[in-house]
């Protein structure tokens, strides 16, 4: 594109931007003390935004115009080197995560972010079983997270059960609900499946809000018991029966945070380990076969119903574990934590990471959730940046960060499956 044409193109973009922003940015509606509405004018902001669009569009066309001239060839030496480095990437990340609480300069705030990121890594890996391996599009995954959290909270509140008894129960209950949801939607595919799972997530949330006598309604449940170190509470008194007293340590509030960090770390690793093991077993292979081609799968005698239900159940179980962890960490839960946006974020982590790629999901969770926390001081702009980042990453890398896939089994040697051949399932 010639510079003159590029300028004209950018001018058109700026004109469109003016059309978009003139009313919604230029005129702000405010409620006056008397209850009426009045307008406040902000034309400087509109001019600024149009300028940004003009400059951005101009830079983009000139840059892209230059780039298009370069012939596209195979992988450059640089990408090959990066691939070689990539082999050490996952172990290095794991090691870093393992020693994180003991790195000097890592305080309570950083550990809290670590716990949050690991929670989403675990949720991402759990959903990855359903979406990435079995190829079933689930937009209501947060429902299982909520079921896990409420299972623990309610069992602890009404029956006084401890965290370690409730953790498996929360997983089992969530898996049970996974089957309940999975059963009616067995025949549905693609977007029909997506909307029914979304509806299921919303139904669970609405019930949690309105069944106030059991769940506390919109006020949620507070005072959920904190976890103990195999029966030793983390109390500040430092007495004989507490964690600090038993091990002869100085009582410190950071013990509990470090414990929670390792708890979610091992829960996430458990999810990963189970997934990796299952992929080598007939069940995991049936999931992947189902994702690649449901009809071929059926003709080879794989029981579609059981395969789908087990994917829903196992994915939901890990969501339930994560939920129970969430409840014990926060000590307070309310339906507000389980909105559709959470499902969308977890699904986004799975897709942005690369469907079916365990490392990719972990990196995506780190980038999206960690990045989200880093931009904390942006306040109300934060979600705007978050959404824009989702769009930009998808446009630049539609296959996710790790778009290639290593086959689970191969005849002689495992070769990486190219991006264009990676299946995504239609369920």
């Amino acid at each position: 594109m010639t510079p003159a044409a590029a300028v004209r193109d950018a001018a058109i973009a700026a004109l469109v931007a003016f059309g978009l922003f003139a009313m919604l940015v230029g005129l702000r509606t405010d409620v006056s003390p008397t209850g009426g509405l009045f307008l406040r004018q902000r034309w400087a902001d509109v001019a600024l935004l149009c300028g940004i669009v003009f400059a951005g569009r101009l830079a983009l066309t000139l840059w892209l115009g230059r780039r298009a001239l370069r012939p596209s060839t195979g992988p450059t030496p640089l990408t090959l080197q990066l691939q070689r480095l990539g082999r050490f990437f996952a172990p290095a990340m794991l090691a870093a995560a393992l020693v994180l609480p003991f790195i000097p300069g890592i305080g309570r705030y950083e550990l809290d972010i670590g716990i949050l990121v690991l929670t989403y890594v675990m949720l991402g890996w759990g959903l990855n079983i359903v979406v990435g391996l079995a190829g079933l599009l689930d937009l209501g995954y947060v429902a299982f997270y909520a079921i896990g959290a409420y299972s623990y909270a309610l069992l602890a509140q009404y029956f006084g059960l401890s965290f370690w008894i409730c953790l498996p129960l929360a997983g089992i209950l969530a898996a049970f609900w996974g089957v309940i949801l999975g059963f009616p939607v067995l025949r549905l595919r693609g977007d029909y499946l997506a909307i029914v799972t979304l509806a299921f997530g919303e139904i669970i949330r609405v019930v949690l809000i309105n069944w106030a006598s059991l769940t506390g309604g919109p006020n949620g449940i507070s005072g959920i018991p904190r976890p103990t170190f195999f029966g030793l509470p983390f109390s500040m008194s430092g007495g004989e029966g507490s964690f600090a007293g038993f091990f002869g340590l100085e009582p410190s509030p950071s013990h509990r945070v470090i414990f929670l960090y390792y708890l979610i770390f091992f829960l996430a690793l458990l999810t990963n380990w189970v997934t990796i093991r299952l992929r080598r077993q007939p069940l995991g292979r049936a999931w992947e076969a189902l994702r690649e081609d449901e009809i071929a799968c059926r003709s080879l005698g794989i029981n579609i119903r059981d395969t789908k239900l087990s994917a829903f159940a196992i994915g939901a179980m890990f969501g339930g574990f994560a939920g129970a962890f969430f409840a014990t960490r926060q000590a307070f839960i309310s339906p507000e934590s389980f909105t559709f946006i959470e499902s969308a974020i977890i699904l986004a982590i799975v897709v942005l990471g690369g469907l079916g790629s365990q490392v990719g999901v972990a990196v995506a969770a780190l980038v999206m959730i960690g990045g989200f926390e880093v931009f904390r001081n942006l306040e109300e702009w934060r979600m705007l940046v978050f959404g824009a980042a989702m769009v930009v990453i998808m446009v630049l890398r539609p296959r996710g960060l790790i778009g290639t896939r290593t086959p689970t089994i191969a005849l002689k040697e495992k070769r990486i499956i190219g991006k264009d051949l990676v299946g995504e399932g239609r369920g």
Binding site: V196, V351, E380, V391
Partner: protein, 304 residues
């Protein structure tokens, strides 16, 4: 009886709004096979534009009579259409031909962007607007209960019917409609036969957004209270309506919208207001279990 009649009127006018939004979902789905998750937020944006237009016109002292409402509607439709066009251009066109989940995530991202854009630019507070079209006619009187058919409900039903009639003619009788239907059947073949598919898809988004703008303006006039979050629930309901009617089918979208509106209204009137969303979603799930492609959807024939 009188009570049921009142609910019928309310349900139909609400269902018309859902139907208008659902048509946008179903059109986009038919032509490029993706859920346009940001469509509900396009609806929300149109309501805000209509609100600002109403305030601007009242400042100029022009806000009375049907002509003013028509003007608000036209302004809202035009600017919302521009939003629809930009949405497709920025977030979906680069992903054309990519795999199925990429546009879905991009759409969810765009939905978050639009919601927070309005929150940042217009504030998070609820915006109340005084009713512009007060009054109505009395249809029936049963003791103390008066069945009211308000002017605004008549307006909603009339405008929706006119818009849908124009839209049906557009799809069935014009070259653009023919191009749209051709793209829907086979985009590559349509392109080979000289149809500018990119332009057709852009126009689909423009038309879908302007229908959502009609719904947004009507919503503002009927309920008078909007905030940046109204798009989500309305969008989910409308999408439910589109799926219920059979996604990809235009009459199905309107039918689904009416059904969802009626179910919701009657459920709130006779059972409980809190669980009205549960009712709508349950009906959806039950319908899909027995009719997996919706009420009017075509059975997909899969070639192996």
């Amino acid at each position: 009886m009188a009570y049921a009649l009142q609910q019928l009127i309310n349900g139909i006018s609400l269902g018309m709004i859902y139907g208008l939004i659902a048509v946008g979902y179903t059109m986009v789905y038919g032509i490029i096979g993706m859920i346009n998750f940001a469509h509900g937020d396009i609806f929300m944006i149109s309501a805000f534009i209509a609100l600002i237009a109403v305030i601007l016109l009242s400042l100029g002292g022009l806000m009375d009579g049907p002509a003013a409402i028509l003007l608000v509607l036209v302004i809202s439709m035009a600017i919302t259409a521009l939003y629809g066009w930009t949405l497709e251009r920025v977030a979906y066109r680069p992903l054309r031909g990519s795999f199925r989940l990429a546009p879905l995530i991009s759409a969810i991202g765009m939905s978050i962007v639009l919601q927070n854009y309005v929150q940042v630019s217009q504030g998070a507070r609820v915006k109340p607007l005084e009713p512009l079209v007060p009054g109505g006619i009395e249809v029936m009187r049963d003791g103390a209960f008066v069945v009211q058919f308000s002017y605004i409900q008549m307006l909603i039903i009339a405008v929706t019917l006119v818009v849908l009639a124009v839209f049906t003619i557009l799809v069935t009788r014009t070259p653009l409609g023919r191009a749209m239907r051709a793209c829907e059947q086979d985009r590559r073949m349509a392109a080979l036969l000289g149809i500018d598919t990119d332009r057709t898809i852009s126009l689909t988004f423009v038309i879908g957004a302007s229908l959502a703008a009609v719904a947004g303006t009507m919503y503002l006039l009927r309920y008078g209270v909007i905030d940046f979050y109204i798009g989500f629930l309305a969008g989910v309901k409308a999408f439910t309506a589109a799926v219920l009617g059979g996604i990809g089918s235009l009459p199905g979208a309107v039918l689904g919208g009416l059904l969802i509106g009626l179910i919701e209204t009657f459920w709130s009137a006779y059972f409980s207001v809190q669980y009205k969303d549960v009712a709508a979603f349950s009906i959806l799930a039950i319908t899909l279990i027995f009719l997996p492609t919706g009420l009017l959807g075509r059975q997909e024939v899969e070639k192996v």
